[in-house]
């Protein structure tokens, strides 16, 4: 996982999988660090994530909730068709804001 702060937006780039193991703990640790740094606009780049299971979905919700509690916002970009299918069936596509790319997600934050 990599983190890049660009202006008031933080981009977390995930890779591999989000399946309830060390990957998930690493993601939540990164989210807490971002929030501790009082950064509230976060883009999650999922382009290199091959798999998310229900535990990984739980971690995404935990991260989303942490940010919401601080008045922040989390946007997902480059989500694979398969992960989009899981989000749709669980109706989590009504919770997470999905964008095709970083520019689109940035625009979604507004001024």
């Amino acid at each position: 996982m990599t983190r890049r702060d660009d202006g008031d937006v933080t981009i977390l780039t995930l890779s591999g999988r989000l399946m309830g193991g060390p990957d998930t703990e690493q993601f939540l640790k990164a989210m807490r660090e971002v929030i501790d740094a009082k950064r509230t606009r976060v883009i999650l780049d999922m382009g290199d994530v091959a798999w998310v299971n229900s535990s990984g979905l739980g971690a995404l919700i935990a991260g989303w909730t942490l940010l919401q509690e601080k008045g922040g916002s989390l946007k997902l970009i480059r989500v694979s068709r398969r992960i989009e299918q899981i989000l749709a069936v669980t109706k989590l596509d009504t919770v997470f804001e999905l964008h095709p790319d970083e520019a689109s997600a940035r625009a979604g934050f507004g001024g």
């Binding site: 193991g21 535990s55 919700i61 069936v89 009504t94 919770v95």
Partner: protein, 158 residues
């Protein structure tokens, strides 16, 4: 379950480590190709078997990696039957809630079985003294036929 004579059987045994579940993806690729499944069905099978495996590792075996999860794929003429087995104590199916209900939407747990049931044609759990058996079924989609009973062309262009 007794193997039927016309079933091709693929068996996979993995230690209880979540990172090994990605192996299932590779196996499903091959099995789905044999079954002639389309991409959506292939994804549905892979997602569901991985959820069943996650359940087995997390709830059945409590992440004890030396305990093995067995996965059996039975390729039948009309359907793919998958069994995911652990030797854990099982769980109570009666307490499962609708994961998409507004009051549950932001819960961090409780989606695995819901996902399986949404994506497969049949999902059945059997709890015995020796463990839990999750049986998943994906049927082949019938060919679309026109009114004369002939298979429909693949597209509209002739």
């Amino acid at each position: 379950m007794v193997d039927t004579p016309d079933a091709e059987v693929v068996r996979l045994v993995i230690p209880s480590r979540l990172e090994l579940l990605s192996i299932i993806d590779k196996v499903v690729d091959g099995v789905a190709e044999q079954m002639g499944f389309e991409e959506d069905d292939k994804d549905a099978v892979a997602i569901s078997v991985i959820e069943a495996g996650t359940n087995a590792i997390q709830h059945g075996h409590g992440h004890e990696s030396e305990r093995m999860v067995e996965i059996i794929f039975r390729l039948l003429p009309d359907e793919l039957v998958i069994e995911v087995m652990d030797n854990g104590r099982g769980f109570n199916l009666d307490v499962l809630e609708d994961a998409t209900a507004p009051e549950n939407l932001l819960k961090e747990r409780g989606r695995g079985i819901f996902i399986m049931r949404s994506m497969m044609d049949d999902v059945h759990f059997e709890f015995t003294d020796s463990g839990t058996r999750c049986r998943l079924v994906k049927r082949r989609r019938p060919l679309e036929v026109d009114v004369t009973g002939s298979p429909a062309p693949l597209d509209d262009t002739i």
